[in-house]
């Protein structure tokens, strides 16, 4: 077996899942971003129908008032189908007589038709029955469902509505999704967009700063501690990384909520209990940055620690022999060696912070108000979970698309940075 064939075989299961759950979703995100898909349009296409609620918006769609009136009031017509139904539900004689005398005639109001029904030789006597019988001849298309455009147009034609208005009505009546660029127009116009962008930038910069300075501090300080102490601190800081986010955030909630730790302690000094997480946006931001920062700092600590360990000890001894104190050693020996790990950490974390929202979702859910709503969370709220209940997949996809574009751009940049060529060393067995 050649390794070429073997390679494809080995790769294909991974390739299939990557195509199905990475490439296809990215492609679909692009597609969805140009549609108005939402809960109400469904995702599978739709049918045609006009309901009462839509009548008011019809003039905006360019439908003439006359046609609207026709839609609203139309109408009753004596037809074969109506007669057949009448014969079935009431009496064949009545139907036969009505058909003989009034075939094809229309009535704008039900009252008129009811009068006719009462006046027949074989009348329908009960008022309630007459109403029901008249309804059998209703020809209005209001509230009716048509599963194709053609059948909807046929129905429109039968109502006698001005043909000039048919196209506009078809558009209004369509319940499925359509292609549109409105999502991007909305993104540009909505004031909240700018807000989310600013929130995201603020969140990324603050968390990143915290992660890196604190990660560095932890790595360097534990480096100088005796092994046992250092390991204890490292363990304390590593745990948040692998604890389930739901639990980790719960611990923070307990720490900050009005029946939690801070409130209890401050309560001893007479401060009334308050929610230290959700009180104001400032509170919320502090907690959000700390929650993410503590997790990120642990990653920084691990990364930087292994980088410090990689510094040849002879270099450190040499600096000590040269009379450098601790601070100088950190400043002139260790920090310069950290340049590369810091760069890596910055780029890696920028990307993951830009798109992360799990901890914010669990902690503040974007609140108070929209105070801590970041871009990724806004995409989630728009498309997958909001109180209004109408999930706007199209608009959400447009939000996500922005992140996809930024992600691709950044990672292409990193590829150039991190010496991609090194990866391309050819396999040494050529068969």
């Amino acid at each position: 077996m050649t390794s070429r064939f073997l390679g494809i075989t080995f790769l294909s299961p991974a390739l299939v899942s990557v195509i199905l759950f990475f490439l296809l979703p990215v492609l679909l995100t692009v597609v969805f971003a140009f549609t108005n898909m939402s809960t109400s349009t469904g995702i599978m296409g739709g049918d045609y129908r006009i309901i009462k609620d839509q009548l008011r918006s019809l003039p905006d769609a360019g439908v003439s008032n006359e046609s609207i009136e026709q839609l609203e009031t139309a109408g009753f017509q004596i037809t074969e189908t109506g007669l057949a139904a009448l014969a079935r539900n009431f009496s064949a004689d009545t139907a036969e007589e009505l058909g003989r005398n009034y075939m094809g005639e229309t009535f704008t109001a039900r009252r008129d038709l009811e009068r006719v029904l009462r006046g027949l030789d074989d009348p329908i006597r009960k008022t309630r029955d007459r109403k029901a019988a008249a309804d059998l001849f209703a020809v209005t298309i209001m509230g009716e469902r048509y599963d194709s455009e053609a059948s909807f147009r046929t129905a429109l034609a039968s109502t006698g509505i001005d043909t000039a208005d048919h196209d506009a009505l078809v558009n209004v009546a369509y319940t499925g999704w359509t292609w549109t660029t409105d999502n991007f127009r909305l993104l540009l116009e909505l004031p909240s967009t700018l807000r989310y962008a600013m929130n995201t930038a603020f969140y990324v910069v603050c968390t990143l700063l915290f992660n890196i300075t604190f990660g560095l501090f932890l790595a360097i300080s534990t480096f100088y501690l005796p092994a046992k102490l250092a390991n204890t601190f490292r363990a304390v800081w590593f745990l948040p990384r692998i604890l389930p986010p739901v639990l980790y955030v719960l611990m923070w909630s307990w720490f900050t909520w009005d029946n939690g730790f801070i409130a209890t302690v401050t309560g001893w000094f007479g401060v009334p209990p308050q929610n230290w997480m959700m009180q104001t946006s400032t509170h919320a931001w502090t907690v959000v940055v700390l929650i993410n920062g503590f997790v990120g700092a642990s990653l920084g600590m691990i990364l930087f620690s292994s980088a410090i360990k990689a510094i040849p000890t002879s270099m450190l001894y040499a600096s000590e022999v040269d009379g450098a104190n601790r601070w100088q050693q950190v400043r002139f020996i260790i920090l310069p060696q950290m340049r590369w790990p810091i760069l890596f950490m910055t780029s890696y974390q920028t990307l993951s912070l830009l798109t992360s929202f799990e901890y914010i979702l669990l902690a503040t859910d974007g609140g108070p108000g929209r105070g801590t709503e970041v871009w990724a969370l806004a995409a989630y709220h728009t498309a997958l979970n909001n109180y209004g209940g109408n999930l706007q997949y199209g608009l959400g996809a447009a939000y996500a698309l922005v992140l996809v574009v930024i992600g691709i751009a950044l990672s292409a940049l990193y590829l150039r940075f991190f010496n991609f060529k090194e990866l391309l060393i050819k396999p040494r067995i050529e068969q």
Binding site: L218, S221, F238, P244, T264
Partner: protein, 275 residues
């Protein structure tokens, strides 16, 4: 480094910064077992009522904790096994096999890191509905496994890269096919990688929250993360004792794995994210 009085300054500073975490850990454990007066920080009497969720439904309409735990276990183990086996094969192909388009696969692999959950999940939501896998464990297993793959492949490729080429060359010279060389000679060298990946992807599956929340919201497919979140969301009184007990229960496997493999885990998280 020689001991030094100034180390104690450092320890004190570190301890202050670590205090929030330490306090959280201590009270996390304590509060789940005891009843504490709201305005005091001293533990009260031993009280196991917080653990009632283990033997009764805490409120109607909520699935039994054992069903949820079983779901979580199935979800985490299947994704871990799937991720590990697929990554083991794909990583070998990318590390060692001469095949067309290898540079593009490698570049693509790095690019995939740029698409975390949120950028994909809206489309995946719709794909799963289309496939009829929405609100099923199988659906989120597929998705979670696929999303973990780039990381897994990267880790495994790294481990394969450290196996000397000569071992493979010797195997080929000894008359073994490439598949046999891989299975019998190379795989034993990357066992630590396999174990690490298995553990990490299990932990990741065990902790996963957003995917089940969005893609499997029904109560029959609830996992511990969504279960616990739902309990927290639905409880108006913020009964932290109950929450913490559930959290303790939820995190048992995590703590056990953490205690057993702490060092290896740190190494992987330290090195694995490189590149």
């Amino acid at each position: 480094m020689n001991t030094n009085s100034r180390i104690w300054h450092l320890v004190v500073i570190l301890a202050i910064f670590s205090a929030p975490l330490l306090i959280m850990y201590v009270f996390q454990v304590m509060d789940s077992f005891t009843e504490r007066r709201p305005d005091s920080l001293w533990p009260g009497e031993l009280d196991l009522s917080n653990w009632r969720f283990l033997w009764e439904k805490i409120d109607s309409g909520r699935p039994s904790i054992w069903v949820v735990t079983f779901n979580t276990f199935v979800f985490a183990t299947t994704t871990a096994v799937a991720v590990t086996s697929l990554s083991t094969m794909a990583g070998y192909a990318l590390s060692r096999l001469n095949m067309p388009g290898r540079p593009y696969f490698l570049g693509g692999l790095i690019m995939l890191h740029a698409f975390p959950t949120i950028t994909l999940i809206i489309a995946i939501f719709i794909i799963l509905q289309f496939l009829g896998l929405f609100d099923s464990l199988l659906g989120i297993i597929f998705v979670k496994a696929a999303l973990e793959l780039p990381f897994g492949i990267w880790i495994m490729k790294g481990f394969y890269d450290t196996v000397p080429w000569e071992i493979e060359m010797a195997g080929v010279q000894d008359g073994a096919s490439r598949v046999r060389v891989w299975w019998e000679l190379v795989l034993p060298q990357v066992k630590p990688g396999l174990a690490a990946l298995l553990i990490i992807s299990f932990l990741s599956g065990w902790s996963e929250f957003v995917l089940p929340l969005v893609l499997a919201p029904g109560s029959s497919t609830q996992v511990l993360a969504t279960y616990m979140n739902a309990v927290i969301q639905d409880d108006a009184t913020a009964d932290f004792g109950l929450f913490k007990a559930i959290g303790m229960f939820y995190s048992i496997p995590v703590i056990v794995i953490y205690l057993l493999f702490q060092k290896q885990l740190m190494n992987i998280y330290g090195g694995g994210t490189k590149g």
